[in-house]
Structures are given as structure tokens and as C-alpha cells.
Amino acid sequence: MSKRLFVGVFENEQDTLKAVRASRQRGFKIVDVYAPYAVHGLEEAMGLGPSRLPWIVFALGLLGAGLKVWFEFWTTAIDWPVNVGGKPFNSLPAFVPVTFEVMVLFAAVGAVLSFFFVCRLFPGKSTVLPVSRVTDDRFAIVLEETDSRFEASEVQRIFEGLYAVHLEEQIAAEVD
């Protein structure tokens, strides 16, 4: 199904922030905001909850460490016990460094992959920009024209008051 979207384009981050706040006060549904860099304070303005990535990373780190300790113990003490320099088969302290490295590896790789996954980022994905130059110097707010509360004229007034450089309505298939 298709939606009617209202896109406001701004020139700098302060105006964008104000516009976002204003839109939320009036209860407009903000589909997304596009910016050339990570604008601070925008997540509160948009009211996004904190990310759950840290937990995934933490879990993966533990997993990596656990696996490695078990592997080192299994190889040197169970599967193939050999006398190396008179050290005991299970020389746990000597296993620490590698364990740490593998923990970091799992955590880091896990973090990146899950990031790509939740953001649906993958090579060859066709890019959809609301308006051009959002990766250069433009900020775009995308509102959904849904319920009765939405009044194009009002939105227009507010945005122009905040020095919007360009406004347009779009009929678009799912944009995320």
C-alpha cells in the first residue's frame, strides 16, 4: 500500500531540531529524519528509545570467551595432553591472553554484523533518498499525512517559520 508523505528540507541542524520538536508537539507522525551527520539531541527530539545493541555485544563477548576457554582446555588437557616444559596439562593462566582476544573479536564482529542487520544495510541495496543532498548538506524531515490532525497548511507555516528551504508532498511506497 502507498502513503502520502510530507517532506521538509532544512539547511542546518538547529532548524531541523526545532522543526522536529514542533512536529512532535502537534502529534504529527515523524516517519524519519535524514541528516548528513549524527545530529546530537535528535533522538530525544524524535523520542526514539535507547538501542539494544550493547546487550547483544555483551552476550557475544561472553560466548566467545567461554568457547575459547573450553577449547584451550579441551585441546591441551583432554584431546592431546603433552608434557610441555614441565607445565601441567591445564595451564589456565597461560590461556588468558587468547581468551581475551577471542572475546573482543566475537564482540566486535557481532556488533558490526548486528548493526548491519537491524539497519538493513547490505551491499547492493538500492538507496532511497527522500530528497537529494541529504548526504551532503541538507536535513530532511519526513512526516506521514495520516489522520485528521495533519494539516498541510499548518505544517507548511511552521516549517517555513523555521527557514525550511524546500517543502514537498510525496506518494511513496514503504520508506523506512
Binding site: N12, Q14, D32, V33, Y34, A35, P36, Y37, A38, V39, L42, E43, M46, L48, S51, L53, P54, V57, T75, T76, D79, W80, V84, G85, K87, S91, A94, P97, V98, E101, V102, V104, L105, A107, A108, V109, A111, V112, F115, F116, V118, C119, R120, L121, F122, P123, G124, K125, S126, T127, V128, L129, S132, R133, V134, T135, D136, D137, Y163, D176
Partner: protein, 458 residues
Amino acid sequence: MADAVLTLRPPLIEGDKSIAQVTHDVCAPMEARPSRLWWLALAASSSLLLLGVLAIGYQVAVGVGTWGLNRTIGWAFDITNFVFWIGIGHAGTLISAILFLFRQRWRTSVNRAAEAMTIFAVMCAGIFPIIHTGRPWFAYWLFPYPNTRGSLWVNFRSPLVWDCFAISTYFTVSAMFWFIGLLPDLATIRDRATAKWRRTLAGILSLGWNGSYRAWQRYEVVYLMLAGLGTPLVISVHTIVSWDFATSVLPGWHATLFPPYFVAGAIFSGMAMVLTLMIIARKLMRLEDYITLRHIDRMAKLVILTSCIVGLSYATEFFIALYSGSSYEQFVFLNRALGPMFWAYWTMVSCNLLIPQLLWFRRIRAYVPAVFVISIFVNIGMWFERFVIIVTSLSRDFLPSNWFHYAPTRIEIATLLGSFGLFFTLFLLFCRFVPVIAVAEVKGVLKYGRPHAEAIHE
């Protein structure tokens, strides 16, 4: 309030740029034809690289005997170069991760290059553990892989195995860190690209990034994560490298001081190398507005700090040796300073301890050529530090009957030059084809130290 404080400071980016200008300044040189200077540099470095390739080829074909090693001194140039490059590789992560965690905004215009440097340095470092083995074609045996030779695993007690894991993890994580940072800029390149190949290539690499803020939010989180993981990692890597020596029985190697000593040394040499490269890059790519005197000044200060830590380590080593009461320890250190290889030791001391002290003077820190020269000296000094630790300790150990001397062969020297060739070749290509400045991040800090943005509209 933060902004208020920041307004008191001079701007991070000179010359009152607009967001669009930033994009342009960084991307334009990549789209324009390379300068003659760049071509010359590339020619020089790639011919060095070729030399190195030939040297390594000959050595792999004929044997490690083509190096100046002997039954007393089993490591010299090979492992010296390895530790040297790994050390260089530490500054990148330091700048991008640690300074990021400390919210040092000024890092933004240097971190991209610094990270690139890290990756290239680790590549250079990675060569040596492989070619230093007697049978390089079996070097992969250092990894525990399932095999059909019955129960056959590696020795997890050996610091060399720790090295393998540390280095490969470090390389992977730095590479990912770098790529994540690069993602938005790739999108920028993609969207302003005129040439088709550039658009497609950037299109594939940018994974369809479109600046959606939902993505930006998670992006920030991941970046923070990687920084958080990278910081202990960078410390662990050089700690493990130092354990190659610290866990041995050899006087001069067997020292508990080594981990902090090596990490400090690594940051020291890394900073110096970053300075060297930044000063070259800002000339080469005309980025004086982004890599400003303030950047150089701050890195110079870091160099002094680490130089002093390293100096302290030298002193501690000596003190502990004399204090230890072990005649072997005592001898090794006196032998370093006064023995047949005293020249190496004093080169190290003067390059790492004495010369950097000049940076205490603001005038010198502000005079770029001086800083450049000093950074070169530090690079030399840090190479010698590793050389001194490895060779002097080996050359005269427990049994006097084993004492022997060491001199490098042509092959070894060519290999060292080759590694520099590889490093600079990669760096020059990087300057050409990848935004040397983290565009998105710089845009983020543009407003720092500027009159408040509303002003624009009045």
C-alpha cells in the same frame, strides 16, 4: 552548558566553512587529477616496495640463512621490524578509540588517516612473523585448525600463538572500525559522484546508507562499542607482543615492566608516525584548514608525555637490573650501555628521550618543519629501541662461550626498506581514493567555536 564553553575556544576547523564546502574540500581532490608531487611520492615508495618483494622472494627461496642471524642471535631485524610496525599501528586506534571515549573533538580531522595508518602498519608488521620462520609456507600451522593429522593442536602456552590471535583480532577490529567510520562518507561520494564507476563502486560499498536518523542512532552506538572494545584491545596487543620477550628466561627480556613499557613506546612511536604522515598529507592534499596547527600541537604534547614514560621505563629497567642482585641481569644492561653495541643504545636514548624534549617549547611545536624532523627522529629511535632489546640481550647471554655479534645482510636491509615501501604506497593510494578526513564527523564539529547558528538568518 557545553556550547558556551566551546565558544570560548578557537574553532576546530579554520576558515568558516559551510557544510557543503567541507564535502567539497575533501572530495574535490579525489575527483581531480593527482598532483605531480603525489606521482613522485608513489614512484619512490612503490620502487622501495619492489625492492622488498625481491629481497623476500630470494630469502624465501634460499633460506633464512640469507639474513645475518646465527646460532646465538636467532632474531634481529625480522622481529625488530615486526614490533616496530605493530607499535606504529597503535596510534590509529588510540586516536580513534581512546580520544573518542575522552570526547576529544579535535581527533575528527585526523582519525581517518590515523586509522588507515594503523591498518597499513599492521599489514607491514604481519609480514615479518611469517617470513621470519624457516618454512614460511607452514606458517599457518600457528593457528589451531581441525586437521587429519590425528590430535594435533597448537601450544596455547606460547606467546607466539598469543601473537597470532592478538594481531589478527587487532587487524580485523581496526579494519571494521575504519569501515564503519567510512560508511556515511562513501554514501556522500556516491551521491555526488559524476563518474559512473565511482557511483557504482561507492554504491556497493556504502551498503545503501541514506542518512536515516534511525540508522544514525545505532551507528553512534556501534561506533561507541567498537571504541570501547578497541581501547583494551590496543593495550592487550602490545602487552602480548611484549610477552614474547617478558615470558622468556633471557636476561634483558625477562622483565615484568615490559607490558606498560611497550604500550607507552607503541603510542609514542605511533604518535610520531601520525605526525609525520599528517604533515605530509596536509601538504599533499592541501588540508591545512582541517589539520591545523592545533592538531599538531596536541599530538606533539602527547609525544612529550609518552617520551617521558618511555624514558622512565629505561631508567626503571636499569634500576631494577642493578637492584635485582642477579649478575646476569646487571651485566646485560651495562653491556647495552657500554658494550660493543653501545652506539645502538645511545641512538635510542637520544632519539627517544633527549630530542623530543624540544617539544616543550611552544615555538618549536608551532614550527611545522621542526615537528616533522623530530617525529622522524622518534621513529628512528623507536626502531632502535626494539633492536637494542632484542639483539643486545641475545648477543651476550648466560654462557660466555655463546657470545657473538650481529650484522645485517643486504637482504635484511632491503626487506626493511620494502616494508616502508609497502606502507607509504598504501598510504598514498589511500590519500587518493578515500576521504582522508571523516567528512560526516567534521560536519558534526563545524559549529564548535563559531557564533551560534541562528545568526545565519538574521
